[in-house]
């Protein structure tokens, strides 16, 4: 084992999840707590990161789900239907309807009806919406970079790769809904 791996393993023994796992082991010795060390940590990291991470967004008066929606429109570069947006942001259609209502009122997105199929709507960013996204994104990424700077670059790469592997396999095995 390398010195870097040793330090990583060291740190990993000192998080709250490790403490929880130790408690379970004293109560149910021999229990296979392996999954907790991944799932518990993923959940906890997600919670901590979201809490920390959304600071630059809040300044712009956006929630993360709202930003995700605007971001989907920005990065695809074309109009999307509410259904597309639901798939793209992994949220329910009803949630998208609500968000679109608010974002439309704030003048960040516009909608027009489809000419052929009158059930479907097409949503696009307004100029203000696009400027907002382009203004926030670099700030947001810089902020995230700062938060993640607690890890050494190689640790970041390795983590990103492993998470990507897990995610790709989960999305494969749990059924991908990608359009």
């Amino acid at each position: 084992m390398t010195a870097a791996n040793g330090r990583a393993a060291d740190a990993a023994r000192n998080d709250t999840v490790a403490a929880v796992v130790r408690q379970w082991q004293t109560v149910h010795p021999g229990l296979d707590t392996g999954p907790m060390e991944i799932i518990g940590r993923v959940n906890r990291c997600a919670a901590l990161l979201q809490q920390a991470e959304d600071a630059p967004l809040r300044r712009a008066g956006l929630s993360r789900p709202e930003f995700d929606l605007l971001g989907a429109l920005r990065r695809t570069g074309h109009e999307l239907t509410p259904g597309d947006l639901a798939r793209e942001t992994f949220s329910s259609g009803a949630a998208v309807t609500k968000r679109l209502k608010q974002l439309t009122e704030r003048g960040l997105v516009e909608r027009r009806g489809d000419t052929r199929d009158r059930r479907v709507a097409h949503v696009r960013l307004t100029d203000a919406g696009r400027e907002l996204v382009d203004g926030i994104l670099p700030e947001q990424l810089a902020y995230e970079t700062a938060v993640l700077s607690v890890l050494a670059p190689e640790a970041r790469d390795e983590l990103a790769t492993r998470l990507g592997e897990l995610l790709a396999r989960l999305e494969g095995s749990l059924g991908v809904l990608r359009a």
Copy 2:
């Protein structure tokens, strides 16, 4: 690079987050999208895992936050106050109050007032509560093991270690509230 690392990197290029990152790169070339590859994946993994993972809990009529609360009581092995439970489960006091109300009605926990300080309550598992937790936990862990079996054992270990490292450092830098 080893063959295993090659495959991991391969898989990592095929998840939805990688696709999103590629879209951003075409719209904003040169943008440092590094943080997305970790934060985006953590969030998405958390969402997918929670959705999948909670199947055994639902059968028992418990939500994950409810199970976390019962689990905290079980693994510490002694009574906890509502405040302790809030810290232990990383949720707000108000949320704990609501959950306790329901769990008490279902006969899974009991409460008694402190004799000295009448502001504080002490919560403990009933026999039924303890049996429920002990019955569910192995099922839950087995299920989680199955979900995570998409990763090779070494990949799991490495991921757990890296996540632990990140979590430990985040908890350190963002301020730990542990009692």
